[in-house]
Amino acid sequence: MTLELTARVVERDVDVALDVADGETVAVLGPNGAGKSTLLAVAAGLLRPDTGRVVLDGVELTGPDVWVAPHARRIALLAQDPLLFPHLSALENVAFGPRSRGTHRRTARAQARTWLEDVGVAELADRRPGQLSGGQAQRVAVARALAADPRVLLLDEPMAALDVAVRPAMRQTLRRVLADRTVVLVTHDVLDALLLADRVVVVDGGRVVEAGPTTEVLTRPRSPFTARIAGLNMVRGTWRDGAVGGPDGIAVKGLTSEPAPVTGDPVVAVFRPSAVSVFREPPGGSPRNIISTTVTDLEPFGDQVRVRAAPTGGQSLAADVTTLAAAELDLAPGLRVVFSIKATEVSIYRT
């Protein structure tokens, strides 16, 4: 099943395009209000875009003169909330899809039991949704979506409402059941994208700002949002004098990759927070990038301390230092410090 979607929804200022190949899982990342859910609603046939098309396997579902009703699309939607029908048992919830398509009651129940087993909650078949925990309910909801035998599965932040403790197991289950399916996964969790998706599309402000294989997008982010969720620092600017000329006179040197930037190109410098050293005074001598800034926040990060600095020209940077170093430097919010980054730790590429 290949899904092609283009949609412009003026009211929500969304203008996006998305292609999903057969058997591929595409993660749609983006901040809240970026238009991710709008995209799913268009695909599911719950929202009619002002202009745009939804084409599944060459058959138009949404188009200028075409409208296939949601129930006839075989595109199942799994939302953040399980939305199990409260008046039906878990088993009847899962059997709902098959029965709606005319499967005999007994056959539908047998199928439902298999799906419940597959997601590991067979023993909850007779429970009402009100008697299930959030994680259990979402598993039943996954079984229900799969039992409908959808051609495309749309997942809208399927783990956002779950306890952090049950997310890893749920993620493993999804990883297994989503393999080989055509899936659009909306998420703001980078881990979901890494573990579940073949490709990511980053949406911001109603537009696709980045797209590509997951690891490539996350290791070479081109938008501030992607850099943030990938846990990377990013300085955006233009290429001049062999460095990324950022706002406020910042110049960051680093390793450039092909194609080599020429003066005036829009470029980004990307580096890990762990590559940043923090000093009270500018260190002398070494070929380092120096950024003067102010500490805004300190938070524990593993066995280290993440130091967040005031935005410099709109770009907020972070540094990871050891607890000992943080104590020796007597770091506190409001303190003027110097971030220092070795040029060899900085990747520079064109955007």
């Binding site: 719950l46 075989r74 709606s100």
Partner: protein, 263 residues
């Protein structure tokens, strides 16, 4: 059951008007009950004409309630789940019988379905005469009770939201299946309480009925009309029958608000 003590109290004076209001509602009932001739009560409420009126009331109210459900559920769905130009106006007009004096409703019905009414000629040609028949009683009751069902069901539909319906559709359920297996079960409590309220309103209907259907014993003289007729000639019987209606009303309230009662 635990009783939670409120930390922020109410001003003490507020209990005075509250108690007065409660008294205004309850005292007339006490007054009426105090007038009941208990010695002849059973005899009075089981007289032939009383039983005829009671049975007519129950039958017509049940049919009217059924009509309210059959017509009101689709109306509530259209109002809650669609949007069209002039929807607000339609909603206001549909709710008109709630605030309209029932007598006015009766006159409106008479000049629509009566012999010389808007549709009278057509109905007459078909050999149908509605005014001053039991059908007129049912029509009058349906007219005044329909808004009760529409209002409570539309509220239930709105608070249930349409997310379950979207999920059901994405699972392949056709609109009729979604309605039958998802929408209706979800709003069933709202539908039941709306139907019970409609039934109660139909049972108490007086003004539209007497205007449009008249007061013919056995055909259109429902319990409220019967009581109104009796109140001069046989006050004891009127009071006894009134008590019967009060009991029915209390039962209806107890039934229409399940789970909300705290006794």
């Amino acid at each position: 059951m635990t009783t939670r003590q409120r930390q922020v109290g109410l001003p003490a004076w507020i209990f005075v008007p509250a108690a007065l209001g409660a008294a205004l509602v309850l005292l007339p009932l006490v007054g009426m009950v105090s007038r009941v001739e208990w010695g002849s009560f059973v005899e009075l409420v089981t007289s032939d004409s009383a039983l005829t009126a009671l049975s007519l009331s129950l039958r017509t109210s049940l049919v009217a309630t059924l009509l309210c459900v059959l017509l009101g559920v689709p109306m509530a769905l259209v109002l809650a789940r669609t949007s069209f130009r002039g929807q607000g106006l339609v909603r206001s007009l549909v709710l008109l019988p709630l605030v309209l004096p029932p007598v006015v409703g009766g006159i409106a019905l008479l000049y629509t379905f009566g012999r010389r009414g808007l549709l009278g000629g057509e109905l007459d040609a078909l050999g149908i005469q509605i005014a001053f028949s039991t059908a007129a009683v049912v029509l009058a009751q349906t007219f005044v009770s329909l808004p009760f069902l529409v209002v409570s069901l539309e509220g239930a539909l709105r608070s249930a939201g349409d997310r379950y319906e979207e999920v059901a559709a994405s699972l392949g359920a056709r609109p009729t299946t979604v309605f039958r297996r998802v929408t209706l079960p979800l709003v069933l409590p709202g539908l039941v309480s709306g139907a019970v309220l409609s039934f109660a309103r139909a049972l108490g209907e007086f003004g539209a009925t007497i205007t449009f259907a008249g007061s013919l014993e056995g055909t259109t003289r429902t319990l409220p009309l019967f009581i109104y007729n009796l109140r001069v000639v046989d006050p004891d019987a009127a009071v006894a029958m009134s008590l019967v209606l009060v009991v029915v009303a209390v039962l209806v309230i107890a039934f229409a608000r399940p789970g909300r009662s705290t006794w």
